[in-house]
Structures are given as structure tokens and as C-alpha cells.
């Protein structure tokens, strides 16, 4: 075995272990903050796996989007509403655990079946394209994958508008969930300059 292949193999083992143990930690740990940080570690290791597959652009995009945006926002949200409260004990916790475990195992068996039945070798005998892949991704995004790409952006726009509507309730006359008129006073007070009353 040459040195390059050995290095690649060791990297693959380490990254896979980090992904699996990290993902288990995200689910099993009690502290939500630890879970969020571990999630970032899992995303990073997945980016490492992409790097091993010669997909450096996808790896960088993974880091930028999942670690830099999604995970930071998750941590941000956790820290903004970091209430120390004891979770209520759930009565039928055992049956819930059984159900969720069986669903997860079903999904796992489905994935294993896909892994075993799918033909993974490339149809065309092209070797790895390496840095060329950035150009290929761009070509595909603007030709045959244009519609899914644009639909995804419309979806994000809808989510953004929804978030703004939920966050800025003061621009609405009625509360969205209850239908009662909104108490405009309360919301306006916080955005008023503090010094105006003292004149």
C-alpha cells in the first residue's frame, strides 16, 4: 500500500468514527448546547469526507452553509433563549422510545438495502475530475438543474417572509394565532428612544 492510500484510509476511518460518535452524541446528550456544538463537528467531518472524495467545492460549500450559517444560527437561537428549566417527565417514555427506535431501524435497513442493491461504479470510464468539478457544478446548476435550484430559492424566500411576519407582529393589526387585536403599545414602547420622555 502506498503512503497516499494509507493516509486516505486512516483519514476515512477517523472521519467516519467522528461522524458516527458525534451524531450519537447529538441525539443522546442531555445538554442541548453540547448537542449543538457536536452537530457542528459532525458537519465538519462530513465536509472532510467530501474532501476525501475529491469534491473540494462541495466540501467548502458544506462548511460555509452548514457550519457557518445553519449551525451558528442554531447555537445563536439556543443562547438567546437559554432558559434553565427542568423538563417535565413524560409518562409513556418507554413506549415512545420503542417506537422511535423501530422507526430509526427501519430507515437504517432501507439505507442498507439501497447501499447493497445500487450499482455504485460510474457508467462512463472518466477518472476523477478534481478541480474541474466546480465548473461542472456551475454548468449543471444553470442548465438541467435550473428549475430545482430556483424552486429551492423561492422556498427559502417564503420561509424568510414567514419569519419576518412572525417576528414583526407589530405591523399587523391582528394577532396571527388568536385573531385578537394586537396591543400595539407594548411593542412600540421598546423601540422608542429612551431619552424623549425626559425633555
Amino acid at each position: 500500500m502506498s503512503i497516499a492510500i494509507t493516509t486516505q484510509f486512516i483519514c476515512f476511518i477517523v472521519l467516519s468514527l467522528v461522524v458516527i460518535i458525534g451524531a450519537l452524541g447529538v441525539v443522546l446528550l442531555e445538554s442541548i448546547v453540547y448537542s449543538a456544538f457536536l452537530l457542528g463537528g459532525v458537519f465538519m467531518s462530513v465536509a472532510g469526507l467530501y474532501l476525501l472524495l475529491n469534491a473540494s467545492f462541495v466540501a467548502a460549500a458544506q462548511v460555509l452553509v452548514y457550519v457557518g450559517a445553519v449551525n451558528v444560527l442554531i447555537i445563536f437561537a439556543i443562547m438567546l433563549v437559554n432558559k434553565k428549566e427542568d423538563l417535565k417527565p413524560i409518562n409513556d417514555i418507554k413506549s415512545r422510545r420503542v417506537i422511535s427506535t423501530s422507526i430509526c431501524l427501519t430507515l437504517l435497513s432501507l439505507l442498507i438495502r439501497v447501499d447493497l442493491t445500487n450499482v455504485w461504479s460510474l457508467s462512463s470510464p472518466q477518472s476523477s475530475i478534481g478541480d474541474e468539478s466546480t465548473i461542472r457544478i456551475g454548468e449543471h446548476l444553470f442548465s438541467d438543474y435550473l428549475l430545482p435550484f430556483e424552486v429551492a430559492s423561492v422556498l427559502l424566500l417564503m420561509a424568510m417572509i414567514g419569519a419576518i411576519v412572525l417576528a414583526r407582529r407589530d405591523v399587523m393589526s391582528k394577532d396571527i394565532s388568536t385573531g385578537l387585536p394586537v396591543d400595539q403599545e407594548l411593542i412600540e414602547k421598546s423601540s422608542e428612544p429612551l431619552l424623549t420622555n425626559k425633555n
Binding site: 456544538f37 462548511v63 457557518g68 450559517a69 449551525n71 447555537i75 445563536f76 443562547m79 478541480d131
Partner: protein
């Protein structure tokens, strides 16, 4: 455009001369440029710290450090040694693991980004295809480290500082990436070497700053904000937050933050000079001078000469920008958090979007000037 020194090739040939296989020669070669860049980054930090002390002293009509070495040049080393031997304190109520991991997560991406900084045609660690995009991706990891150390300190000032740092970092990342995108559009490549080569046609006249003046200003403002330098040092605003996320840190862990922020400043200055000021290019093209003096461009001594000029030019441009950043720090007041976010989202973001659109239009209209 295959000219310039190829040190890796010569080094490997040199080792093969001793009967080593090319693989082993490659393994011996690999750590050398990394070590060199690490040393360069740390020395750069020492120089910057000394400059900062001296220039701030001049701006405030003081003398500044003067006893440690001539003109106080040894002062930063004394500072560093002091931080090395200080006690490493973890507050009793802090979260030990996250408290330690935070500064590491802040420093490592910054040092990794030096991978793509070219000092010459072949004088960089790795000419990766995704080039400048790697830096944008890596710099987005930093806020996690800041949030982590802010949370783990178990201190309200630290938490607020960490949240502010993350908010600032996210909002300035977008105009930064958009102004880089305009350059990439003109270069047709993400690689930093290609970006410099595209500007090397006519010396100072072909630098990107003339074709991307708006992008240059937006990028510089965003880079300062990403480095948390005054006027954008809100995450550690002393009057409001003690020292932000660094409040509970002492000794070497604090030194990691300190190193990280200065390495980041130098890195940003280097990237501005690569993206907008022609990188290692001399204001008058070296080939023209060689032709004028009737010297062969491929002769070894000319090659060594041009390579050293390249390194000197890159460092000179970067330190000019560092000088401007230091002057800005000691002459401007701090903005408020709402002004900072307004500037980022309502001013820089639309302007950089318009800049990208206009660049694309100009590229279609004048392909010979804006890259085709």
C-alpha cells in the same frame, strides 16, 4: 505562465540525489512550507504588535515602548513570554471543555487560511482549485469558537460579547463574499494565483482596484469588521462589556485569541493586496524591466531576484494596509451595534450586489478589460 522558482521540484530532485524515493522526498518536503508559513505568521504578528504600540503612541503624542531593544522592537516578544508563563486559569463555574476548545476553534481556521496566500508564482503552500472560496468557508467557522468561549465562560458579558461577535461576523460575511465574487467573475477562476496573474498585464494600471473601486472599499470595511478592529470592535467594547468573550481568559488561552486576531488582520491585509493590489506584482512589470536591461527572464539570478521582489511587494502592500488599519483604530470612534448592523445589511449588502451586477454587465460589454 509557467515561470518562477519551483522550490518543491528542486528540493525533491536534491533529495533524490541522495538515493531517496520520490514519495519519501515528498513527505520530507510537506511540513517545510507549513512551518515556514507558521513562522512567517507569528513573526508578522510580532511586527504588527510593535507597529500598533508605536503608531498608537505617535497618534497620542507618547513615546511608546523604547527600553526593550532598539526602539522597543523586543517589546512584543516580552509580551508573548509574559503570557506564556502566566497561570492558566479556568473559572470554577465555567465549562472546562468548551472553555478550552473555544480559543482553538478561533485560531485554527485563521492559520489554515494561510494555505492559499501566494507570495509568488510557486511560493504558496497549495494552489487549490477552490482558492479564495476556501478562505470564505474557513472564516465562517470562527463565530462558533467565539460563541463557544462566550457561553463556556459563564459570564453575562462574555455571552453578550460572543453573541455580538457572531452576529457581526455573519452579517459582514455576505458583502465580503459578494465583492470577492465580482473579482472571481473577472478572473474566471477561484485560485489566488490566477487572480494575481490576471492583474499582472500592465503593472499598476491593471490592478483590480481601478476596475473594482467599490468592491475594494466594501471588502476592506468588511475585512476590518471580520477582524473586530475599531471602528467595529463591538464584541469587546470595553465600556459596555469589560472585554467581551475574552473577559474570563488569561495566560496562553488569552494569547490564542490575541494571536488569532492579529494573524487575521495580517491575513485580511494580504488578501486585499492579492485581490485588489496585484499581489506579488511590481508596479512596473518585471518582464518589461528585464527586456529594457536586455536580461534573459529565465536566467537563475533573475528568477531569484523576481521572486524576492515578489515577496517584498506582497509584504509591503500588506503592511501598508495594516498601517491604515492601525491608524483607523486609533483615530475613529466605535459605532453602535444598531449602526453596525444597519451598515452591513442596508448599505454594504445592496452596494455589493449592485457592484456584482454591474461587473457582470461590464464583462459582457467590454470583455477585453473585464476578463472574458
Amino acid at each position: 505562465m509557467e515561470y518562477g522558482l519551483d522550490l518543491e521540484y528542486s528540493f525533491n530532485e536534491f533529495l533524490k540525489g541522495f538515493g531517496l524515493s520520490s514519495e519519501i522526498a515528498h513527505i520530507i518536503w510537506l511540513p517545510l512550507p507549513m512551518l515556514l508559513v507558521l513562522v512567517a505568521a507569528v513573526v508578522g504578528v510580532l511586527v504588527t504588535v510593535w507597529l500598533e504600540r508605536k503608531i498608537s503612541a505617535a497618534a497620542q503624542q507618547r513615546i511608546g515602548p523604547e527600553y526593550a531593544g532598539a526602539l522597543g522592537v523586543l517589546q512584543p516578544i516580552a509580551d508573548g513570554l509574559k503570557l506564556l508563563v502566566k497561570e492558566d486559569i479556568i473559572p470554577a463555574k465555567a465549562d472546562g471543555i468548551l472553555f478550552t476548545a473555544g480559543p482553538i476553534l478561533v485560531l485554527v481556521p485563521v492559520i489554515l487560511s494561510w494555505l492559499i496566500v501566494p507570495f509568488g508564482q510557486n511560493l504558496l503552500i497549495s494552489n487549490v482549485g477552490i482558492g479564495i472560496f476556501l478562505w470564505i468557508a474557513l472564516s465562517s467557522i470562527q463565530p462558533i469558537g467565539l460563541l463557544m468561549s462566550g457561553y463556556a465562560s459563564n459570564n453575562k458579558y462574555s455571552l453578550l460579547g460572543g453573541l455580538r461577535a457572531a452576529a457581526q461576523s455573519i452579517s459582514y460575511e455576505i458583502p465580503l463574499a459578494l465583492s470577492v465574487l465580482a473579482i472571481v467573475l473577472m478572473t474566471n477562476s477561484l485560485s489566488t494565483v490566477d487572480i494575481v496573474n490576471q492583474q499582472s498585464g500592465a503593472g499598476i494600471l491593471s490592478w483590480n482596484i481601478w476596475r473594482q473601486p467599490v468592491g475594494f472599499i466594501v471588502f476592506w470595511i468588511c475585512a476590518l469588521a471580520e477582524c473586530e478592529r475599531l471602528p467595529f470592535d463591538l464584541p469587546e467594547a470595553e465600556e459596555e462589556l469589560v472585554a467581551g468573550y475574552q473577559t474570563e481568559y488569561a495566560g496562553m488561552k488569552f494569547a490564542l485569541f490575541y494571536l488569532g486576531s492579529y494573524i487575521n488582520l495580517i491575513l485580511s491585509a494580504l488578501l486585499v493586496s492579492i485581490l485588489y493590489l496585484g499581489g506579488w506584482g511590481f508596479p512596473i512589470p518585471v518582464e518589461l524591466i528585464a527586456k529594457f536591461l536586455n536580461l534573459p527572464i529565465n536566467a537563475p539570478f533573475i528568477q531569484v531576484f523576481t521572486a524576492s521582489i515578489g515577496i517584498v511587494m506582497t509584504v509591503l502592500k500588506a503592511y501598508l494596509l495594516v498601517f491604515i488599519a492601525i491608524l483607523l483604530r486609533w483615530t475613529t470612534p466605535r459605532v453602535r451595534i444598531d449602526q453596525l448592523l444597519d451598515l452591513g445589511w442596508k448599505f454594504l449588502l445592496p452596494i455589493s450586489l449592485a457592484n456584482l451586477l454591474i461587473t457582470a454587465g461590464l464583462k459582457l460589454a467590454f470583455p477585453q478589460f473585464f476578463g472574458g
